[in-house]
Structure formats: structure tokens, C-alpha cells
Amino acid sequence: MKMLFRKMLRDFRDHKAQFISIFLMALIGVFAFTGISSEAVGIEPVSSNYYHDTNIADGWIYGEDLDNDTFADIKGRHQIKDAQREMVVDTVANYSSDPDITLHIVEGKQKVSKFHLFKGKDFDENDEEGIWIDKRFADGRKLDVGDKITLKFDGKSVSKTIRGIMYSPEYVFYIQEGSLLPDFSQVGYAYMPAKGADFELEYNTIALDSYEEIDEKDFKKDLEELMGMSKFVQFVHRDDNVGVKTLQDEIDQHQMFSGIFPSIFVLVSLLTLVTTMSRVIAAQRTQIGTFKAMGYSNREILLHYLSYGFVLSLTGSIIGLIIGPLTIPHLFYPTMEATYSLPKWAPGLDISAFAVAALMVIFSVAVSYISVKSISDENPAETIRHKAPKAVSSGFIEKTKIWKRFSFNERWNYRDAKRNKIRAIMSIFGVFACALLIMSAFGMVDSINDVESWQYDDIYNFNSKLLLDENITDSQLDHVLEETDGEAMMEEAIEIKSKGNKESGTLTVLNDSEYYRITDSDRNFIKLNPKGVAISDKMAEVLGVEVGDEIRWHVAGNPKWIDSKVTETYTIPFGQGLIMSPKTFDKEGGDDYNYSANVVLTKKEINKNYTGVSSITTRDEIQKGWNTMTEALDMMVSVLTTFAIVLAVVVLYNLGLLSFTEIQRELATMKVLGFGSKSLRRLLLTQNLWYSTIGFILAIPGAYVLIGIMMGSTGNDYWFPIYIYLWNFVISFIITFGLSVLVNLAFSFKIKKVNMVESLKSNE
């Protein structure tokens, strides 16, 4: 097989472009797929190992004054392996701009939710002077082991020496109040042993380590009986921990992204690879015949040609598998790191990446097999001859009068497409997929930008948002409203139930407002009925609720569920939930709920602090948070666009090359007959433009569908209109057709070089 091996290498060299494109198709497909998916795939094990290594609590009980008896009772439950009692308090650290630190005062040894230590020593229950603080805050404030830190809360003060810098698995994601994005110099957490407290401890948290998965419903019922309604406030399952849940949602969303888009890449690459491979083999028809005449067995011939596809797709896939995870995930980590705190970020490969690589190899080998087999099964007496051109009958169009008006160029292209249907379909599909990807990528940016101005210009018509203290007095509130010329409103986290679905959301209680404007789905400002209960479109969709339906809701922290009837809907891009007027809220809520303002919105830029106001955020800050949050998406879009363009170039060039190779003889004949290079180039350009146009037109509805799917994956809290700006079509059009013409230019040189004599020889 030495000579056949040599032949293969020379074939690679002589038909570089085709073989490179087979190689590239496998590479790009696997590269895009594993690269994009390895980001989310990698976070999954990193986070679960992190949770496992630190023995994150399986659940938390929050209550008031969890005394020794209660604690002993809970510890004694059959499903509980271990439990750890903590007093968790919100404190303010003695640094500029009063950063918020959540302090955990831990009783005894740290058994659950242990630290991931970066520096210093591990938690020591007997270290009365020690405190452990989180790395993000330490970095943000340039604190180190040995430094002193003072935390204040409820008139008490804790001054301790930092013994260690760490992460806690309970804080994968945390954020200062009223913001979308954490500012780690403004928010943090710390742990200290109970022995270090010089005040009386009121335990309010029990972190649980269970033998098995805790059944939330049963366990809650148990606890209510055990502790009584007054002491028991809440049980939070591990999966509902803010950090765990937010990260998991993020991973899910990324996986959704990395599932759909790269799959399209894989599909396009596979199809192109398959077409090219089968054409390459078809072109070797007479050689296969010669081999047979010489006495090579079918097995040897098969093996020879299978090795083409095998070698190329295998090396392409392997390189893709290696460089994908090494490059693309690192584009996403910075934005992920800005939001989430994990001890490390590492890409990972799961079975799907290998499956895609295997798919590439299997398909290219399989198609080689089928192509060679169909040729070698033919009678060798047939095979040593060139295949007779396919007979084409005159179709409907040729019989109409319009046909006569067609130019030669149009007729030739029509017939060529008809005779090479697969090539035509593949070309159209290639353009379709590329235009689809480019349009969808841009479309997502459009939708996000659109939504940004909707939320932050239209709905948020304020410049500052003041969060009020829980115990602000009426006169203090009046003073704030007067000084700021503001409007008071109430915002609460709620849970809504209907038709067996349950969702968390936001309840906004306000009167008709200038600073918080309500919009409908067409982005028009609307006024809500002050006596009604309005539900956001997306929330209604998620719950399956329509106007007139009954819903149940309750404010987080208040166990009393309220029944209300939905009277109208509104649309908001971010922060789904309910809106009602204070009067309606009081009426609906009955004895259990009373309206009390906790937010003041104002047009003024406020930078001075009022009594009764806990924090102030400007709209710009909120918007900045949004922008950082969507950075990951922007990055995704850039990556996808780049891939789409590379893919488009390779696919179009490749298909162009295929048709060029196949019609080379025809071109040579036409040249002999006196056609100039220019008109031949026009012939190919016409073909390219036809296919591009059809592909592009098909891609438009496709892009709407795809953007819809992608935007739907952003989570139930977001509502994205599917919006593609006109310029997006124009740019996608320019890119698609520009590439098409560019590829055509590449061939115009080849047309000039078509050797009339050589091409007309019977030789291959």
C-alpha cells in the first residue's frame, strides 16, 4: 500500500483547497462546538466539586432565637447528619462609603459550608480575636492576613484581626442591595467563631448537613410542628441558595446557547464535509476503475479512499477538541468572574464534544464508503470510463415563453442547477446557515439594545433610586420626598402561583407615576386601572395566566397567600411580576399586608444621604450593571459572528471550488468556442448570486425563530422582543453577498488559467 499512501499524500497536495476545506470543516465544527460548550461544561464540575469539597449545607433554617432545645431537636431529626448554628447579621465595615459585610458568627467547629482558603489559617473556633473575610472584599480593599477590621451592627461593634482570606460556597453570587452587578469593594462577608463575641448571641440560622436529599415540603411541615410558626421563618434548600441558583441558571443559559448555535455550525460543517468528500471521490472515478482493472481488490480500494476522510476529519476534529477549550472559554471568564466567585475557572469537555468529533469522523468515513462503494460496485468496464452526463429533460420553465427571453447566462445556470441539485441545495443551505447565524447574532444585540433603552429610558424615568430603611417614619419620608421632589413606591419580592405553576417575581406598588412609567407590548405608555391587578406579559406567559384568571401571591418573608384576579397586563423587559396601586394592595392584602413605601424615585441626582434612607443608586449605576451583565452575551455574539463569517468563507469557497472543478471542462469548451474570461466569470457569479439570494431570503424568517429561541432562554425574569433593525439586514446582506463576490473573485483567476488543451484531454 506504499504507493497508494503516496498517492494519498499527493492527492492532498494537488487538491489542497478541497482537502483543506474538509479538514477545516471538521476543525471548525468541533472547535466551535467544544469551544463554546466547554465554558459551561467546565463550570459545572468546578462548582459541584467546590460544593462537595467545602461540604456546602444541604439546606438552611432561618428563624428567630433558635435556642438550644430547638437546635437539639433539629439535630435529632432522622435525615439530619450534622447541623451548625450561626448568627448571621448585616454589618457595616469601618471603611469609606460604608461597605456592607454579612457576618456569620459560627457556634463551635465549622462543619458545613467550610471555606475555600486562599491565605492564612483555617477556621478556628477557639480563636477569640480572629475573623475570616472573603477574598473579593480583601482584594477590593487591599486587606491582608494580620490586618484589623471593625464591623458595626445594631449599635454593637466587632473589632478583630484577619486570620484568613477565603471563599465560602454559600456566596458564589452575592450583590449589594439595589444593584445588578456586585461591587466587591462595597459588599462582602466574614466569619468569626462564637467564642469571639462579647455580646449575647441570638442564633438565627442553622446550616444543615443531611444524609439524603431533603424533601422540602415534608421537612417544612416537620419544622413548623417542631418549632411553631413564630420561630420558624424559612427553610431554604441548597438548590435555592441565591448563589447556587443564580450560577446554575447562568450555566443553564450558557448551555442553551452553546447547544443551539454550535449545533448549526456542526450541521453546516458536516453537510459541507459530506458533499466535498463525495465529490472528491466521484472525481476519482476512472482511477478507481483503473485500480480495479489492475487487480486491486475492493477492500484495498475502499481502505485507500476511506483513509482520506478518516485522516482529514480525525486530525481536524482532534485539533478542534484541543484548541476549542483552550481558547474560547477564556473569552468568557473575565465577565463571569466579575459576577461570580468560584475558586477556579476551567473549561471542560463532556461526552457531547467527543460525540461531535466522532460524528465528523464517522460521517466523512461513511460518506467515503458509500461513494466508493457505489463506484466500485459498478462493473469495472463502466468505471474506467467517465460517467455519462446526467440526462435532463426539459422542465416546465423551458416550455414556457419566458424561457426564450432568458439569456444564455441564465439558461446555463438554470440547467446547471438542475443537473447538480445536491450542489445547488448545499450552496443555498451554506449561505442560509451563514446568513442565519450572522443575522441572529446581530439580532440578539439589537434586541438587547432595544430592551436596554426600553427599560432604562422609557420605564425608568428617574435618575436616582433611594432605598428606604424599614423603620423610616412618616415625617422622615415626607422630608425625603420634599427634598428630592420624589415619588414613593413599594417594591417587594413575591411568589406567584397559578394553575400549578409557581414563579418568583417583583411586586411594584405605586400610583400613576412619572418616574416609573408603564408600557404595553408595543412600547407605548399606558395607564393602569388603579383598582386593578396587573401582571407582566412574560409572567403571565410563564404561569399560563390570562386576564380574568385567579392567581395567588405572597410577599417573601410573609407566609400569608393572597388570592387576586388579574385585570390587565403590561410589558416590562426586566423584572417580571405584578403592579397594583397602594389602595388595591391594602384591599387585596387584607389584614396581613399594609402598604409602606420602601423606595423613592426622583429625577434629581442625589448624592447626599438622608435619615431613613439606606442606600442610593443612580440609574447610570443600574444601567452599568446591566451592561456588564450583557457583556457575556456581546462576547458570545462576537464569537458567533466570527465563526459564521469563517464558516461562510469556507463553505462558499468550497462549493465554488466544487462547481468549478466539475465544470472546468465545460468552461474550457466555452473558452474554445470564444467566450471571454469575463463572461465566464459572470456565469459563475450569476450562480453564486442566485444561491446567495435564495439562501439569504430563507434566512430571514429563520433568524426570527432562532432569536426567539435564544432570547427565550435568558430566563423567566427577562422579556425580549424579537427585534431586528433594518441596518442589521443591510449589514448581513453586505457580508453574505460580499463574501459571495469575494469567493467569485478568487475563481476569476482560475478561470483565466483554465488551459483549453489540457482540460479537453481525456485525461484526468
Binding site: 504507493m3 498517492k7 497536495r13 482511477q287 482493472a293 487487480g295 486491486y296 468496464a381 481525456s762
Partner: protein, 234 residues
């Protein structure tokens, strides 16, 4: 002289819709070992079909084709492959060289099939192509390419050489050189050579001349004193 090839009532029938096309219509003939056989006939007479059946590139519809005492008509694919590899050397009108192997490599590739080490240059020398071993087919003239193809066929020392219009694509001078090469091989190595052609001049050089027309044998002539190819007036 021993009989090498025997056709007995061989038919090759193509069905085109309801019509039957008899490409070979009851062919019976004998070819002896070491004979230089020329098959003459107009286009479409069935010459190539005859050669394809003999070479195991195609199978007969019915009849017997006995080569070296074996009936190849009932051979399966594997047996046909072995038969082609061992007994048959093909020479095509358009040479059918592997374009991206050099002349030497085209010859040496036969060692894949025979398993015997081959010195390509030596074989090329014997067909008068000394020094052309490292050239690719496209760098060679038609006659040179055909000589490579003969070298390739001869390399495995087949019992017979089957040539389909071997000079069809060559000018007459080059054609004479090729034919004379074939004739020499035939006489020196006792290889049976069957040449299909429509060039009747070659008739004078044949030991046995078979004329085919409309799939039937029109005439078989034994030439007692065949001329040397080079002596024929072309």
C-alpha cells in the same frame, strides 16, 4: 501450441427497456498461448465488450470463457479480482495512469498487488523510458505515457496483455513504436497479446486476426507469416 483462451457460445446482452442489445452474439473462438491477436471491427461492433469480458472487467450473460483451463464466467467478484491481478495486464487507449504518481511509482505500485519487490527503473528501461522515472504523467508525451502503462502491465508478468485501442490517441510514428514494443514482448516473453483496434493496417502483423461485426465473428484468419510491425506501410 497450447490453447490459452477459449470462448464458447458467449453472449453479452444489454436490456434497454423492452429492447435487447446483443453486444456479443454467440461468440466462439480460441486463442493460443503466445499469440499476437488483433481484433478488428467498426465502432460499436463489440470489440471492447469482448476485451472487457476476457479481462474480467465485465461478466458474460451466458456461455463459457475458459482461460488456462478455468471458466471465468462464473467467477465471483473476489475471484475476478484475483484473476485480474494475476493473469491480466491492461493497456488503455488513454493510458489511465495515476496522475499524481511518477512514472516509476506507477510501475512500482504493482508490488502492492503481486507482493514482489519491483525495480521500476529497470522495467522502464525495458520499454525505452530510461531517465523518465521521476516524471509525472502530465510531464510525459502520449507515447511515453503509453509506454509507462505497458511497463506497468508487464511488470506483473501476466499471461496476457489486453490492449484497447492502445494507439488510438497517438500519432502514427509513436503508434508504431508502441505496437512494435507489444509485438516484441509477445514474441520474447511468450505473452499472449490481444489488441483491439479499428486500424486495419495492423492486420498484417497479427498471428491471428479476428474480425467482429454487430457482435458476431465475421472472420478468423491465421496469418502464417505475420509481418514485423515496423515493416508495415502505415
Amino acid at each position: 501450441m497450447t490453447t490459452m483462451i477459449e470462448f464458447e457460445n458467449v453472449y453479452k446482452i444489454y436490456k434497454i427497456g423492452e429492447h435487447e442489445l446483443r453486444a456479443l452474439d454467440n461468440i466462439s473462438l480460441k486463442i493460443d498461448k503466445g499469440e499476437f491477436v488483433v481484433i478488428l471491427g467498426p465502432s460499436g461492433a463489440g470489440k471492447s465488450t469482448f476485451l472487457n469480458l476476457l479481462g474480467g472487467l465485465d461478466t458474460a450473460s451466458c456461455g463459457k470463457i475458459v482461460v488456462d483451463g478455468q471458466d471465468i464466467v462464473n467467477y465471483n467478484d473476489d475471484e475476478l479480482t484475483k484473476y485480474r491481478a494475476k493473469s491480466v495486464g491492461f493497456i488503455f487507449q488513454f493510458y489511465n495512469l495515476i496522475p499524481n504518481l511518477t512514472a516509476k511509482e506507477n510501475v512500482e505500485m504493482m508490488q502492492d498487488i503481486t507482493g514482489i519487490d519491483v525495480d521500476g527503473n529497470r522495467v522502464l528501461d525495458s520499454v525505452g523510458l530510461t531517465g523518465h522515472g521521476n516524471q509525472f504523467p502530465a510531464q510525459l508525451s502520449g507515447g511515453e505515457q503509453q509506454r509507462v502503462s505497458i511497463a506497468r502491465a508487464l511488470e506483473k508478468e501476466p499471461a496476457m496483455l489486453l490492449c484497447d485501442e492502445p494507439t488510438g490517441a497517438l500519432d502514427s510514428n509513436t503508434g508504431v513504436l508502441i505496437l512494435s514494443l507489444l509485438q516484441n514482448m509477445c514474441h520474447e516473453k511468450d505473452t499472449t497479446v490481444v489488441i483491439v483496434t479499428h486500424n486495419s493496417n495492423l492486420a498484417e502483423a497479427a498471428d491471428k486476426l479476428i474480425r467482429i461485426k454487430n457482435g458476431k465473428i465475421e472472420e478468423i484468419t491465421i496469418n502464417e507469416n505475420p509481418k514485423d510491425v515496423k515493416e508495415i506501410e502505415w
